[in-house]
Symmetry: C2
Subunit: 349 residues, 2 copies
Amino acid sequence: MATIKDVARAAGVSVSTVSHVLSGNRPISEATRLRVMDTIARLGYRPNLLAQGLVGKSTCSLGLLVPDLANPFFSSVAETIEIAAHDRGYSLILCNTNLDPAREADYLAVLLSRQVDGLIYFPGTRVPNPALTEAIAGGVPVVVVDERIDNLSGVFVDNFDGGRQVGTFLAQLGHRSFLFLGGPEGLPTVIDRLNGVRTGLGTAGAPADAMRLHFGEYRASHGYETIHACAREGMFAREAAQRVTVVIAANDMIALGALRALRELNLRVPHDCSLVGFDGIDLTALVTPSLTTVQQPSGKVATSAVQLLLSRIEPGNGHMRDENGRFSVSHIILPVSLVVRESAAAPPA
Amino acid sequence: MATIKDVARAAGVSVSTVSHVLSGNRPISEATRLRVMDTIARLGYRPNLLAQGLVGKSTCSLGLLVPDLANPFFSSVAETIEIAAHDRGYSLILCNTNLDPAREADYLAVLLSRQVDGLIYFPGTRVPNPALTEAIAGGVPVVVVDERIDNLSGVFVDNFDGGRQVGTFLAQLGHRSFLFLGGPEGLPTVIDRLNGVRTGLGTAGAPADAMRLHFGEYRASHGYETIHACAREGMFAREAAQRVTVVIAANDMIALGALRALRELNLRVPHDCSLVGFDGIDLTALVTPSLTTVQQPSGKVATSAVQLLLSRIEPGNGHMRDENGRFSVSHIILPVSLVVRESAAAPPA
DNA sequence: TCAATCAATCAAAACGTTTTGCTAAGTTGG
DNA sequence: CCAACTTAGCAAAACGTTTTGATTGATTGA
């Protein structure tokens, strides 16, 4: 790898002159400029970003902490985040936290060591990670995605309202007995969605307490296994007193697992049992029956997160500060919308 | 951020002593060691990885170039690669090339500037990117995944054999008229899979030329739209002379799109038309009918890629060199296996 | 007792940049 | 013709590390 010194020597100028040619910070005669540029091209010189990051203030890199890349919702958001960051000149360091607080802390430490300019953080764990608090104290800008955390800027969707729309919709269809397949118990997104559903049911006149709850991972296997287990308890039996007529999943992956299980049990969706998901991943439109789900504006979430973060990082784009000169905390709340597809219908007579 | 200087000052020792405490390269008295460690903890000191990377030879970072993170196959491989890299102490810089050669070149330039220790590269484009050739010339270790490129180490699956298994299987089921939904025309993975299918059909006695070909993107939309278009041409009509009885998709996303379209056309899968995919993403087991597909060992692909790359990067783990002292090129070819599920059956009578 | 060895530590160079103070011309204006 | 600029370029410091040669006392061996 050719260095700036090599270029300087080959072009017969000083190192600083090469630097000035590149940055345009000082006037350079056209002749020298051309000669330097030519040498750069000839030698295939590329500035060493490590050295630049060391002397300058910015490394043009962001850390992205995602709980589970295998979940299409996350991978799709991650993809858009990556593209948005790249468009603005930032590289992304990918961290798959696997919902493990220890891994999370580990990654946070590495990212700080790497002097990232900022962090985009999808909380996968219940409690705010102490390592995160430390990072923030260290002055690294953080944007939280998908979950509201006090004192931290964030982008999230209106999970409660999404749940409410589901609840209202199902109650109006006539459902009166519900099975809620949650994600990890205690996770704010899960709580909000559940509370939303309850509120929706309540306002539409359905008994909100007629809902069975099963928490688990945000994975298809959770939906699949829970449905089979519930079936063994007779929850879907035609003659059951409180026959479940609709399954509400806290995310689409759970719903897809549940859908598979329902089919295996020869329960027709939606004829025998309706099914609703949450997230709006692309696959929900592809499966049969297509899945009624709450559509998150995942592209908007991603671009907003990047924009919010960079507005904090880059000087002079007017990020708000409070009266103490500290950066203010912004929360961007994006709306969600219920997408009604084939999987939800009126309950069996 | 506390620096090593701050630690040295606070502990009343020189900078080099702190460094030696951390690295263990020189003997340090127990008393000093304890005092330094204590100071480090108290100040929350973290070594600056940029500075380390600048002076040392390694940055402990790898570049990952993926064509399309939204494709579950890629995101799942990316996840495993990330985990394997992190376990070995490497960070991953994520690049979503979007199948665009210009973007690819752009990313490659950035990664070189960032002094990555190595590259894991999923080719999404037909021609080997000139920027890649340049990177290799610059001495950056590269491992290619999913496609055989001469003179480059790589990990890939036996696409031809996968296709062959599909062809044999379908011919033996009695199919005689095929529709192949390829990925991008000219892409080696597509070519290999197609040639495999043809060979399989041939050896099992089916007319390999009785296969219609439609190339397109590796996306669900391609499968969906092509099936609808083909249906309009009457390709699936019961009375058609050369009625297509099975759709062979070059990957699972295309297959899922095709499945949806077939359902919309009221064609029962597999009763009216069989369907086979390729990749073995998790979702193929979840949809109904579950998808017959060629299972790639995606976890093994990921870990092999990381292992192969690190064996080149890290000194002394015996990576082979040829007689000229250059690193030898290794190709790891992993087997695939046809997973027979509900979507493929004998053709209609 | 003296040279040789050893343990513990320090000082300085190096990595590849950017930034800034400086110098040596050349140019202007009166 | 000289002071005051301007232009173009150079040299050196700084960023936070690691590495290595040097230094100091203490310990050994004969």
